[in-house]
Symmetry: C2
Subunit: 708 residues, 2 copies
Amino acid sequence: MFDSAQLPKIVAMALILLAASPAAAEDGHRLWLRYDPVETPLRQRYAAHVSELVIDAHGPMANAAASELKRGLSGLLAQSIPARAQVDRDGAVIVALAGSPELRLLHLRTSGLGTEGYAIRSATLDGHTATVIAANSERGLLYGTFALLRRIQTHQSLVQLNLRDAPALSLRMLDHWDNLNGFVERGYAGKSLWDWGALPQHVDRRYSDYARANASIGVNGAVLNNVNASAQILTPAYLRKVKALADTFRPWGVRVYLSARFSAPIEIGGLKTADPLNLAVRRWWRAKADDIYRLIPDFGGFLIKANSEGQPGPQDYHRSHAEGANMLADALRPHGGVVLWRAFVYASSDKDRAKEAYDEFKPLDGEFARNVIVQVKNGPVDFQPREPFSPLFGAMPHTPLAMEVEITKEYLGFNTHLAYLGTMWEEVLKSRTARPNPASIVADSLSAMAGVANTGTDRNWSGSQFDQANWYAFGRLAWNPRASSRAIAEEWARMTWGNDPRLVATVVRMMMSSRQAVVDYMTPLGLAHQMGTGHHYGPAPWVDDQQRAEWNPVYYNRADSNGIGFDRTATGSNAVAQYAPPIAMRFANLRTVGDDYLLWFHHVPWDFPMPSGKPLWHELIARYDRGVATVDAMAQTWASLQAYVDPERFQDTADYLRIQGQEARWWRDASIAYWQSVSHLPLPAGVRPPEHALAYYKSLSFPEAPGQ
Amino acid sequence: MFDSAQLPKIVAMALILLAASPAAAEDGHRLWLRYDPVETPLRQRYAAHVSELVIDAHGPMANAAASELKRGLSGLLAQSIPARAQVDRDGAVIVALAGSPELRLLHLRTSGLGTEGYAIRSATLDGHTATVIAANSERGLLYGTFALLRRIQTHQSLVQLNLRDAPALSLRMLDHWDNLNGFVERGYAGKSLWDWGALPQHVDRRYSDYARANASIGVNGAVLNNVNASAQILTPAYLRKVKALADTFRPWGVRVYLSARFSAPIEIGGLKTADPLNLAVRRWWRAKADDIYRLIPDFGGFLIKANSEGQPGPQDYHRSHAEGANMLADALRPHGGVVLWRAFVYASSDKDRAKEAYDEFKPLDGEFARNVIVQVKNGPVDFQPREPFSPLFGAMPHTPLAMEVEITKEYLGFNTHLAYLGTMWEEVLKSRTARPNPASIVADSLSAMAGVANTGTDRNWSGSQFDQANWYAFGRLAWNPRASSRAIAEEWARMTWGNDPRLVATVVRMMMSSRQAVVDYMTPLGLAHQMGTGHHYGPAPWVDDQQRAEWNPVYYNRADSNGIGFDRTATGSNAVAQYAPPIAMRFANLRTVGDDYLLWFHHVPWDFPMPSGKPLWHELIARYDRGVATVDAMAQTWASLQAYVDPERFQDTADYLRIQGQEARWWRDASIAYWQSVSHLPLPAGVRPPEHALAYYKSLSFPEAPGQ
């Protein structure tokens, strides 16, 4: 890679890059794919297993795997790894498709790996030790490649490997809420990654960087545009731009999907209706699908938000969601595409909003075409810091379901609050549905996972260093919904921050406590939707003047002089009845519901005795204080890591933890001030009173809060 | 800086950074401050003049100068330059304030340098050769530092230096049209640089990078927010954020200004009026100014867009622009602040828009307070590819004037068209006003220059590699409005792309022809404002349905079967009469007006014989063709530079030139198709007909065009 005569030049370049150039600052742009050299002596141990590359597979994804191996191994081992036509020494890394001579010689079976899985095995070939990455498909090889690199990045052994892994869900996708003008709805990481103005002529390097990062965590689909969709994306000019992205993503195994506006036949098709049973409409969508597949043969399909928050949909024509979805499914079916139809609906004015998706979609089970996937948010309302799982999971046995989670932290403090969402998603995925079997969990009901992306043009991709972990965890959990969020946190911490045991343990500890901290200082004990109107920035539990009842925080907290919480038992909205009986019984019972969902399901008197022995009023306040204390502890913990972390990323994180600390106090103080105005109860002894009077908190306004 | 034992580690790091990390890709983020090592043997010659640094000045700006010298010289000479308390060898670089012992010993006088100028002199001190940077102020030292570095970056000699330079204008500022939600109006380079959400706690590294880049070209002020201003910026919460930016900019000599919304006393002050003669309003602004200066002692002042395009202003209360400006000036005067009051107004419905600013502001000459600067756009209309100079320059002898130019290319193809604006600004600055003296030029009338910034969060800062040149040229011309735009282009090319003579000559040639190319393919021969409605993307000469007459392209082109162009002579709007008589006479005469302003001032028959001998109709078409041909030539020329340029920036530019070529054809074809529909004349022999019929061009719509 260099000879010694070039050393002075290389050293000079290194100095420039390291010392003089902003480009050398650690800004997090490399994500978890840093590939910095492993320290010796460990590096020498790895080097014995990595002497050369033998690639027995061809095609765009196999080439991407090969280039990634070369890049990753060269970086991690700080030496160039030669590529060879065949094994000629110990320590080869072999990449081979099913059916290749190497795998036959080794009797390495790839059955059971499906089209995306991989096997990694230590072996001896032609008398030489080797490590073999095997799969039935190029995509499997790509995932196997990243798995092998991850082992080195996380300092795991390469000795006597015998790994087999395949994704539990076949569709693992990011949903970008990106508008065509570059604005990202609920985006806190800069502008949209897609520079529509310069596409297709200019294909920015970040597009392949993005797809490569997705490949490294197994994400295999991307919806490019906002579910509040513009029909423009389906015009020929934009489809040429979409094609350029699809071509760029393809070697990294990421297929492109689009959010389609249901009324597009009117807006860009010149039709008078978008009625899904109208023949001209059906023809229009079929022709549109044909056009798309001519440009993008592996186009994934459409994501639809219909009859939800003002979006057009089949109900505008008195047709059902199934009729709408099936019309699009018909258009896509000849090409192998799918429809992702969102179940996020709440149209009724008097029904408990938490009940609406179930009541509207459960009766449609069995009516959807086979290439329709119903996409259900993790909870029954809307991406709150904590919700019980949506009762639709397990309740639609004849319909493939996707779980939609929000990676971008719309309701968890935006990008400046540190909240690791792996724990939240694990909690939901492992929740018992008792459908169809008593032991069934949410993960069993899924065919797909979709994450609302937190990516943007910010240099760190996700708006903060730690928000990268949520992108990472989403991919890893979509690959294996039974994975441990703690293990994922550790993996990410090692790859992103380093392998020093103290560093890793501390970072993981911060991450594991972080989401509960947000729950505590924003919406403890099962509260929900107490955020500021529209932008969702900061506390606003007092708001009661919004046009629709369910847009008001008071709708959710129902706080009055008697108590607080939403009665969803039989004496109230009876939303509990949407769950399987054993689950419903647990939720309906004040003694068994547990702290996490207490106020979600029950209106509880202020003096209700909590398991801690305290009355609810005291316990509620203690939760806010616990949340604030956890953030303070995170900030202190982080400060102790200064010596372990580069100054730039250290400071980024320290600054954001300071913001989080201030805003956690604001949440606590404003919330307590409001609850006290309703409960008329004194603060428990020793409790710090809110810094300001309630009127102050009510007076704050944030017309320029981001993401809206 | 390193010892040989660390070499392998450094080499490994270099390889990682160069080979494995996206951060190492050449993305233009370093702007013109690259500081890559000069090649030997030239480097050795420089090294003889740069052996050590002796800094005899202290304070934030002096420290910035010292750190920049260290960083720049270490990079350029590929060696660490030690700092010493005093000269102890040949080749010292001395940085010294007026009055320091070094300057006394050398009899180096700083009189005449003012508060921002510098001298650089080769000298002998204590028997050692040295290079001295001297100034009356820290800011002067900072500018001298960048001047010395620039000499090395551009491969100029350091032998027997005796340079003195000082800015001709005391205020050289960028106006950011950045909204508080992060959107940049007419921005084509990503989001706003200012992350208001995370300020003041998180001070992003890009803020000081930005200020440093400004310092390097002499820009000493920045208006942070859009002239279409939100009053929110004046609330305490935002002022704390502004303070954090001001603190960050201060060491680089950049003062902060704000766009103030005239009606802020109502919107955030709780008053019922914003009448500038109302005592409560005056008190409110005084208190607001006091608050600001408590936080930011060197706050620059306010920029105001009033009674213009719907913005509030003093005329809402039947007060004059002077009364409005003077009220704000009163509030700022005790603190040394200034008001920049924009003359961009066009309120009348029947008057030639080109006449309005003059008619409204000229009568106010002498009525403005002394700390008011009237800010006048370079031309009488609005930042077109070419306009004659505004007749206000030279016409307000009792009023300090700022010239406002638009660095962001709202009307010149956005970021994807290569158009070097230095030539345009030089053309305007050197235009003869004949006021007050026959030889007076526009530059003589100026106290300040303001450039509407083209910066954003895009990695290359300006939306394209070549758009950096416009930021650069703005700063250099604001420093010296009589400078040569060609010399500036060469300077920038050397610093940004390299010093190879063929590379420099070719890049400069491209730049120097580029703006005329845009004029030719968009608005040849003095046409103006033919862009698409609102977004200004693409051609729309046919548009005639906008609410206000002067928002329609047909208002400007006045094309009919007889001819084309706007009669601004005595037979028409008589706008020529606003110029000094000798200038007016030249503009009014068809034989002397010249091609550049022909259709700006005259309605000309299609068969008018042009100096080329062709009739106007043929000449007009030839100009479009010339514009397209120039772009094609630029693309070919650029392709020839592949070996001289890093692959990333080469590709970026090649891609954008391809877009520009396509859009230049679009402009040509759509424009010719429309003119033909009006002139009913056949195309001259050999002329390529438009690719599509006129109806096609009219049918195109761009609801998602950027910047609006």
